[in-house]
Symmetry: C2
Subunit: 298 residues, 2 copies
């Protein structure tokens, strides 16, 4: 059982943070406008810092994250962008000592989500701020509903059955690259009984195979009960007739667990919010993912 954070309400103060990579200001402003339509978003000026591929050095990003997290006025944290950088902070972040509030983001934020699930907390896999501004009203509404209502989220539908079958368990995962970079560290939660969520962007097929094989050699597929694959965006191999889905289909069949592909989750046009840690029912034959618990508690 994973613990849900407290629900948000309209006009709550929320904070935008950048614990990973630097971002485009215009995309950030558009996402900020979307959040402003419902909440009172705030952010520190330091959020616009840039140190090579990071949104400022570790000290800045950690201080921004933890001070917002500790601030009782701030009811939820929204990540400005993924990229890379959360992993660098994990060893300095005592999540159990921080209050339980909704943490929203995906991609590189998978590292933070997993560290939270390792401590039994539910968190929110959803568009980052820079992606929110180009998300449809339906995607935005789904996120707001998920953050505010203590009812289960609407089910999602995939595009293809890779391996038939049904399974139930807590939904755990996110970005494949980031998740596999926590194998063998204290920040990967116990995956026993889980439904594994995976998505990725700009990873060549052989790299998807290598990451999947890492999971296999680490014994992950002996623990999880099913696999929900989101989008694998810009993962095509130039000039080849086969693509990432052909590779993933073969990999899924090798491990022979219920697996459906193409859930609208990830770096594609539509990134539907899903709570991580909540119990879900994957029906790979029907290509559905049902949520059995709410993401937040009132």
């Amino acid at each position: 059982m994973f613990a849900p954070p407290s629900a948000l309400r309209a006009q709550d103060t929320v904070q935008l943070v950048a614990p990973a990579g630097p971002f485009d200001r215009a995309s950030f402003d558009r996402g900020l406008e979307v959040l402003s339509s419902r909440y009172r978003p705030r952010f520190d000026d330091g959020i616009f810092s840039r140190s090579r591929y990071l949104a400022g050095d570790d000290d800045r990003r950690l201080a921004e994250l933890t001070s917002a997290w500790r601030n009782d006025e701030v009811r939820a944290l929204f990540a400005a962008r993924g990229g890379y950088g959360v992993m660098r902070l994990l060893a300095r972040l005592d999540v159990e000592a921080l209050p339980h509030k909704p943490i929203v983001g995906f991609s590189d934020l998978t590292a933070l989500h997993l560290a939270l699930q390792a401590k039994g907390r539910i968190s929110i896999h959803a568009p980052v701020v820079t992606q929110l501004g180009r998300s449809s009203p339906e995607v935005v509404q789904r996120l707001f509903d998920l953050l505010e209502r203590d009812v289960v989220a609407p089910p999602l539908t995939a595009t293809e059955t890779f391996v038939g079958g049904r399974a139930e368990g807590p939904l755990i995962g996110g970005n494949l690259s980031v998740l596999t970079r926590l194998i063998g560290t204290p920040y990967l939660p116990d995956l026993t009984g889980a439904i594994l969520l995976l998505e990725d962007v700009t990873e060549r097929p052989y790299r998807l195979d290598r990451m999947w094989t890492h999971l296999r050699l680490a014994g992950v597929f002996e623990k999880v009960r099913g696999i929900a694959l989101g989008e694998f965006t810009h993962c095509e191999e130039k000039g080849e007739a086969w693509g990432p889905l052909d590779v993933l289909r073969d990999l899924a069949r090798e491990v022979n667990l219920p697996c459906a592909s193409g859930f609208p989750i990830g770096h594609g046009e539509v990134n539907c919010a899903v709570p991580l840690g909540v119990r879900v029912r994957l029906d790979a034959d029907a290509r559905t993912l049902e949520f059995l618990e709410p993401a937040v508690r009132r």
Copy 2:
């Protein structure tokens, strides 16, 4: 103590194998010519197979590798090319049941080297066949000497001290991408007391950081005594004044272990053969790596 394989002799039969990716035939032929100048190389026709990014399917590559390995006439195995694919075979490969003979290669072959070192065996980090044909006579001679003579290999010199200091231990490692893909699996040897060798190719700086941070979060830098960095080829970030060496220098200083960078090992012009598992002395101030044991026994 790691056990050395038996030394090769001129005119010994050796076999070329492709347990990873497919390769260019002309480069293979040039490398074959180099090996023919000293040994009697053989190979199966199936070596030219191609299945997407693999040199034939797992069954083919595994059968080729193990039948050559078991064949008493074959005194050493040379990998045709790296790429990707060895990891896929590890769970089906019982290296302890196979005779101890020199295994030669690098890059993706790091997965096989590490599996061998996990079982206490020395193996040879050296050019793959497709790289041998464009290697200098000195690089080729170093490899032949290392395979045939039970004396220590000549020391190597790096180009920059990242963190000063000296350390001794068995040399373990190879390709950073491949090594980190074995974290949390049974195929990564115990790195306690080791001098860690790392090199890579076409990995963007943030990815080098992510892999290094994976090592850090997995506790590797609390175990190893020193770090010998080879070449990081084509790892530049386009349009940026900073590069991979700036990132690696900062990462090395964070972990604060003796570290020298730029040993002529890896995907650059000069890939000097080094035995993995042998005891070495790293002097990061002098930028030298001395070998304290021979690679083979007579």
